[in-house]
Symmetry: C2
Subunit: 88 residues, 2 copies
């Protein structure tokens, strides 16, 4: 088994209203920043052990499907990287 970190980014589907992001954008504009758009997303970094990167990615995608994302309103993507484990 190899140690991996899977990063799952969960974002609202295009067209789903995001009042939190709108509020954040307006607050930045009130501070004097100029921006065209702001989108917010949740990011989960999951440390897990798996026989290979493909299996780690499948496992993380299943976590997204079953708990982290709501398929009605969310899209998600998964990236996987090997994780350095501290030696004893």
């Amino acid at each position: 088994m190899t140690a991996y970190t899977a990063t799952v980014v969960v974002r609202l589907k295009h067209g789903v209203l995001d009042p939190e992001a709108e509020t954040t954008q307006r607050a930045l504009e009130r501070l004097g920043f100029e921006l065209d758009d702001l989108r917010s997303a949740d990011r989960f970094e999951i440390d897990l052990d798996a026989p290979d990167a493909g299996t780690a990615e499948e496992e993380a995608a299943e976590m997204a499907e079953r708990l982290l994302a709501n398929p009605t309103i969310h899209d998600y993507d998964v990236t996987v990287a090997e994780r350095a484990t501290p030696e004893a």
Copy 2:
């Protein structure tokens, strides 16, 4: 001016308790997943125009300092990419 998307990831500093992440990890374990750790972070994708990538990155870092992150408890990192703008 060039169109950029700056991505700001805001995460809790090491050692700051994250009850939401702990709850999410336990819920995944109750579903039968095995994981070593789970960390959550906020991700902001900011569309802005700037003369060059360095300026876009500075601008986004200032947004993080002033609003998106709380320096007492958060670390953040900024990445910048050119953004394709729809042609008229």
